[in-house]
């Protein structure tokens, strides 16, 4: 369960990125977050990862109170969240498999566990045959699927994808959303930030629309608001 209570965020330079945001996302939900560039969507992600702290209000993720959590607990929080970025952020000198295993390795998992899980997740995203390719040898869609596997491999409760389809072709965009739906069916909460009107309208999921730092609409089975 994710809860935003009257949350605001003012950056040090004075930009008011979020204004009095109230939100509730239940365990196992699938939500789209839409809105124009600069609406505050990425700021929302940063707050969830505790990369930024709220300037006001309260954010809860399960038992974590992000507004006043000690910085030493941040790694613990992040292990419950998988994150996928628009620009993939794969390590260029590692293969697809190594990029995924790296995420497990740095949490101190055993080699045996790593090997088994990496193979599983490569299969889940349909890239077993590209295990030994470096990111430079992969297409945008393939890179994003490696990134998704990496986000999932440590078994987080929540998966956040910040514009995961922005740098991939339309066919691949659908495939990535389908993968995220599959992940949602596995019981994880999935938050997808996107600009893609067609995708949002097609899937008829919960849609949260943001504008100038505020939530302007929040509808089940929603459509992309043309406001």
């Amino acid at each position: 369960m994710i809860e935003f209570n009257n949350v605001s965020k003012v950056y040090p330079n004075g930009t008011k990125a979020l204004k009095n945001v109230d939100l509730e996302i239940k365990d196992g939900e699938f939500v789209f977050v839409v809105g124009a560039s600069g609406a505050g969507k990425t700021t929302l992600t940063k707050l969830l990862l505790c990369e930024e702290r709220p300037s006001g209000g309260r954010i809860m993720i399960d038992k974590f109170n992000l507004s006043r959590m000690s910085k030493f607990k941040i790694p613990k929080l992040r292990r419950t969240i998988g994150i996928v970025f628009q620009d993939f952020r794969l390590l260029p000198n590692m293969t697809a498999a190594e990029n995924i295993s790296f995420a497990m390795h740095v949490l101190g998992e055993s080699k045996k566990t790593i090997k088994a899980r990496v193979a599983n997740f490569l299969r889940l995203v349909g890239l077993e045959h590209k295990a030994d390719c470096k990111p430079g040898e992969l297409s945008g869609g393939e890179k994003q699927r490696v990134a998704l596997a990496r986000a999932l491999v440590n078994n987080p409760n929540v998966v956040i994808a910040d514009e995961p389809t922005a740098n991939v072709d339309p066919y691949m965009a659908i495939e990535i959303i389908e993968l995220l739906l599959k992940v949602n069916q596995l019981g994880k909460t999935v938050i997808v930030i996107t600009h893609n009107v067609n995708l949002v309208n097609y899937y008829k999921k919960r849609v949260i629309t943001m504008k100038e730092g505020q939530v302007v609409s929040d509808k089940q089975g929603g459509m992309f608001d043309e406001v």
Binding site: K71, R78, L91, G108, R150
Partner: protein, 303 residues
């Protein structure tokens, strides 16, 4: 995070990668660390040796009164009794000029024979060697002995008074200057070392910023993220310790041989300080490595 043995290998691999990737910075760091350690080591060697030689001088704890030539023995004896009665005088030994000459001859070893030609006309003087109990009274003692030289029955008996305290004080003040200069130099080098290590580690973090950022997103512990960098500092420090220890060791042997041969002062053997040196070099080298790398990670660990 569970401890896994293969992670140790991983930490070392990353640390060495960091060192070789920025080899110029690493070399600079090692160079500065070695300079720091050698200045510290030399200061220590120097003060230890000075201290030792001072102690040797101090153990003499003696004032030598040279007796004017042609003084009658009973006058010398009278002076001796007078001195004996002074407070803080433990004993007064009378060494005749013949004995002094014999001692000299013995000290000169093979050249001693040359002194044989003085046999008939001994250039030495009788000496009264005073052992005192309280070194702070030396000035008083010499003053009182000089006063006796003005008294009627022992008038003009004292030719010269020699106390070694002056030498000791001179060496001591030289030592103090050496210590002062070296302390400042060390302090300066300390600051420079920490600063250089900080920058080296900062550069190492920068060249691995992508990995570090992923590690932090997936929730790697602060230890897991930071330790390879601290280890890099430790390795640089340990390598510098080892190298400067080697340089110190050989440099000391060479110098002590050169100085020892001149026979002027006693040079302590390096082995007498070996254990302290090992602890000291390892401690300071590795300590500087840890401090520098922790300081450079401090800012970045804040959020």
């Amino acid at each position: 995070m569970k401890f896994r043995f293969y992670n140790v290998g991983y930490f070392f691999r990353l640390a060495f990668q960091g060192i070789f990737r920025n080899s110029i910075m690493s070399l600079t760091t090692v160079f500065v660390l070695i300079s720091t350690l050698i200045v510290m080591g030399s200061t220590w060697a120097l003060t230890t040796n000075i201290e030792y030689n001072l102690q040797e001088i101090n153990t003499y704890n003696k004032i030598v009164v040279f007796i004017t030539r042609e003084t009658e023995d009973h006058t010398t004896s009278l002076l001796r009794e007078k001195i004996q009665r002074l407070p803080s005088v433990e004993s007064v030994e009378w060494v005749t000029k013949d004995e002094v000459l014999k001692d000299l001859a013995a000290n000169y070893g093979d050249y001693g024979d040359i002194l044989q030609m003085y046999d008939d006309d001994n250039p030495c003087k009788d000496e009264l060697i005073i052992t005192y109990t309280d070194s702070s009274r030396v000035t008083d003692l010499t003053y009182q002995i000089n006063a006796m030289n003005e008294e009627e029955e022992t008038f003009g008996v004292v030719d010269k008074i020699n106390d070694r305290r002056e030498v000791a004080e001179k060496i001591d003040s030289v030592k103090n200057v050496v210590v002062l200069v070296c302390t400042w130099l060390m302090a300066l080098l300390f600051v420079v070392s920490v600063f250089i290590i900080m920058n080296t580690i900062k550069l190492a973090v920068f060249s691995r910023r992508e990995e570090v950022s992923i590690m932090r997103y997936v929730g790697a512990s602060g230890f897991f993220v930071a330790f390879p960098f601290v280890l890099e500092g430790i390795i640089l420090g340990a390598f510098s310790s080892l190298t400067s220890f080697g340089i110190m060791y050989y440099g000391y042997q060479l110098l002590s041989k050169a100085i020892g041969d001149s026979g002027l002062i006693t040079v302590l053997p390096f082995s007498s300080m070996l254990r302290e040196y090992v602890i000291f070099f390892a401690g300071v080298g590795i300590g500087l490595g840890v401090i520098g790398s922790l300081l450079s990670l401090r800012k970045y660990n804040r959020d």
